[in-house]
Amino acid sequence: MFFFKRIRKDSDLEEEIASHLRMAASDSGPDAALREFGNVTLVKEVTREMWGWASWERLWQDLSYSCRVLRKNRAYTLAAVLSLALGIGANTAIFSLIDSVMLESLPVKNPQELVALGDPTATQSMSEGSGGNTRIFSYPFYKLFREQNGVFSGLYAGGRSERLDLQDEAEHPHARFVSDNYFGVLGVAPSQGRAFLPEDREAVVISYDFWQRHFLGAPNIAGRRITINHRDFTIIGVSARGFSGDIVGYQTDLWLPIEAQPEANPGHDYRNEPNTFWLQLMGRLKPGVTLAQVSTVLNTMGTTIIKEQAAKITLPAGLEKIDREKIAVQSGAKGFSRIRHSFEPMLKILMALVALILLISCANVANLQMARAISRSREMGLRLAIGAGRGRLLRQLLTESLVLAAAGGLTAVMFGYWISRLLLQFTARQNRLPIEPHLSGTALLFTGAISVVAALLFGLAPALFGTKGNFVTHLRESKTGRSKGAAQRFEKGLVALQIVLSLILLYGSGLFIRTLQNLEKSNVGYRRENLLVAELDPWAAGYKTLQIDALALNLTSALSAIPGIAYVSFSENGLFSGTESGTENAIEGFTPRSPEDLVNRSDKVGAKYFSTVGIPILAGREIGPQDTANSARIAVIDEAMARFYFGNAQQSIGRHIADPDGKHPMTIVGVVGAAKENGLRDPAARRLYTPFLQSREDDPIGAFHLEIRTSANPGVMEASIRRAIHKVDAALLEPSVEQVQILIEEDLEQEKLIAKLSGFFSILALLLASIGLYGVMSYLTVRRTTEVGVRMALGASRSSVVALLFREAFSMAAIGLVVGAACAFAVGKLTASNLYGVNAFDPLTVAAAAAVICAAAALASWLPARRASRVDPMVALRAE
């Protein structure tokens, strides 16, 4: 557009002047006409300025000139663009993760009107029995509150599902039970079929991705049948494309009506249980209603409903909690998410790491530009000599930097997508990414913004140095290739800065690696090797309370018969299974200072549980086959509990423990070592063990776990264990069988990721910094060639020349290391909450990091120094 208009106007002006000259010529002759007219080109030039396009034209000139210059200096351009692409790409990748996990709104209608009730991170939580839960809600509560609240135009509920099996499918789909108004309140119409109606029972809406993945996008999918946990369901619709549920980090495949929960999760019926908390609630605000009003309604009318419902079943003590803690209310625009909470520290650490990387790349490119400024001195001198202003040159140089940064940024966008994809793959389970990697508009804006900032960071100082002085100094410099003192100090400063940053990165990654090692080595309190855990859901197969005891005993004896299996026992919660129980107890002879003093973690375990798992027995005896429903009620406590309540293990034996109201007393018969059953970071908690077979009717066993100690490689036993379980009862759903060792390793997933990435980034940083040091050293060495020649001509030895040059390099490195060490400790303090078993101030790690940097610096300066020392003195002297 602009160009065509421009060309037309140009030829117009050309013709206008030509006609002027023609007319003047016919009046006074061609020569006089030209003389009279003056400088034709200049007239054109100043006339064109009137068109007001001059600044655009200059920008265009600058751009095309920059591209020409950069194309001519391929090696320089490639080095700079790659360096920037790495720095910017790493930032784009991490930022796009932060954006998708923490910043982006759900792809629904007016997400800012949504309000999440309770704890938005409790996406897979479920709690039975305890009254007064403030994080998640029961279905009876939801139904009443939906009708009575008055602040929402719509309120829906969504809850977790037990594992679902599809016919002939290895994959277990991610499913949510939702109220019939789910899609309506969110405002996402299905792409096919319809959303739920109140009367829907065995109906399912599948996600667009699931439709593509499992049905290969088959048309007319609505109305098809699908078998879920051996029951028939009808697909009534496919969700909108790009909508994968209201949970960030858990891409939902299937939505089922809450009313169909007992059919899909056979053996469990949560619908009419006011004390089963499993639903998350999300409402759409009525116009003009504020979050504060919602909070008031929820914490007055809402809590009244909860208490009324729970009071029939729960002891008053359980209800006090809801008076102590307010139910939270917050914007639901970003949906629910567990990973938003759990990934946050990791993402922040990674963001800080990549910001440092970008600074290092900028310092590198700045150094490249400083070196080039010297070689361009002649060009700058010439341009100044023929009348270019400094401002014009600065603009030209900064345009060049922007072009470099833009090229780096564009490459980075491609890099960034793949890096973020790779990062997500590290955290994927069952090959499912928690979120779909994508670059949003925000992420692209961010990339653009940091590219511009980077261009200013690396471009401004070299441009200022490069255009300083008049053309005489420039032309003189271009001959000697010498930079001014200030420029040299700046270059050395950049190298020192890179060393500071590298040291911080190396130190940080050292701390993270040691944290990981400490966690891996940390004592869980039992032997994790050769230990398997199988999870079973007897309710789904139709078992009732008492039959479960028999099943557990049958399975134990069946598995014990398999060669290669040493011991078998069973427990309710298993190890590193993600389930955990807690109880409130009255303790004989103990006066609590706060209600929390009476809360203990708990588990129900079978005979020989402790010898199977390998938890040492410190006093008394373990739970044995003699502890059944008909024998005296007993308990075993762990060391932490013994110390907390009774002082030591020996004094605990024979003491009593009961419900808070004093009912159901148990005698403590044994004390065992403290064990970590869910998470390596928490110190082993106080834990109460009761016999599995003494489970009470008001607290029945749900799903349970088998603990299997093998004498052979546990990996090869999994299949025979599954077969044996199938033989005991074919109706049982396929159990999951996992190695405890692997479960523990999975628990360290984030720590591993941080250690790996920080290690990778710090090596990258070191590499960039070494290249920077090498560049500056080569350049400084060339500058001193004559000096070296003179010294050698006067009899200096080769080694003394090398030493001379080394001193220069190490003066830079030393400053960097001292400043870096100080910064590293400061950074260590910031990350202290993410460390384990290592102090934020760790001289050993700093020393190791400094040693690595010294080695790299030595190598980077040795090469140019050696080259200089081999120079023939005569050649060096002649060069001047």
Partner: protein, 119 residues
């Protein structure tokens, strides 16, 4: 920014007056650049000569500001030339420029007279 060229400096000196002269000349009808410069020279009894390096930038600037418009026509001598015509806005501008000019003349005259009286 590059240093300003000599031509531009002169435009700036003349700016107000040159615009006024061009607009005044065009009041009598459309004219092309060559004719405008001739007219100004003739009407000033050969005292004022408008340099082309000032004339064309001024014409293009006036056009950009919407005070004149241009089109290609044949001259009486049957040559193709770009004719400039005063627009409605240009007529208003001419009036205000003339006012300003007479004020200026009066003001300068007053100053000069005052100096003469004292001297």
């Amino acid at each position: 920014m590059p240093p300003k060229s000599g031509y531009q400096n002169r435009i700036e000196l003349l700016q107000g007056t040159l615009d006024l002269l061009i607009l005044q000349t065009l009041q009598w009808g459309s004219q092309h650049g060559y004719a405008i410069s001739n007219a100004i020279r003739a009407n000033s009894k050969d005292l004022l000569r408008v340099e082309t390096g000032s004339l064309y930038p001024a014409l293009h600037r006036l056009e950009k500001q919407g005070w004149v418009k241009s089109d290609w026509r044949q001259t009486e001598a049957n040559q193709r030339a770009k004719f400039y015509t005063l627009t409605a806005g240009g007529k208003k501008r001419l009036l205000s420029e003339r006012d300003r000019w007479s004020q200026m003349v009066a003001a300068i005259g007053a100053v000069l007279d005052a100096v003469g009286n004292e001297g």
